[in-house]
Amino acid sequence: MEAELYLIRLLHVISGIMWIGILWYFNFVQIPSMPKIPDEQKPAIGKVIAPEALFWFRWGAFFTVFTGLALAWRSGYLMDAMMLNEALIGIGMWLGLIMAFNVWFVIWPAQKIALGIVEADAALKPTMARRAMLFSRTNTMLSIPMLASMISVQNPVM
């Protein structure tokens, strides 16, 4: 049991670093740098780096949630957390679920249009790019309380 929990927690942390690391790369590095990149070099970001980063980003989100739910279930606090009987970790888990929903059902569909991965009206691209940016920023904002909640399991704050 101890070894199983250790392995699930390790996979959860690795997936989480992949997810939140790329989220912060987008928000702290790529988005602020885009206006400084010459137009002829922008396709390197839009056509090569961003699609690759988005692949690891969305699957990192998926496996973070999957291993997180598995960890809570195998540790015996899944229902207590989801019902907020364990309030702090429960809030963090709900924040993580909202963030993962944003990744799969808002950011990724919007980015597919903005980056030209799927066929769409060209006039739609700026709208979708802005939607993806705002939801990515929302996730960056939520990532701070979410991470604070996650460490509270092993380091109670109050």
């Binding site: 928000n27 009987n85 309030a87 702090l88 429960g90 809030i91 920023r137 904002m141």
Partner: protein
């Protein structure tokens, strides 16, 4: 909200504020769940 999210420093500040609100909010939820079952007992004691 859009104005806050367009600015990275304001986004981070909002995240920090949310963190503080979450910690105190979770503590309040936890305390209310612990004291709720005790309420009838304290009411009974007051009526004695």
């Amino acid at each position: 909200m859009g104005k806050i999210l367009e600015s990275l420093p304001l986004t981070i500040a909002a995240g920090v504020i949310l963190t503080v609100v979450m910690i105190f909010g979770a503590d309040a939820i936890q305390n209310s769940q612990m004291t709720a079952p005790e309420a009838p007992a304290s009411e009974a004691m007051n009526s004695m």
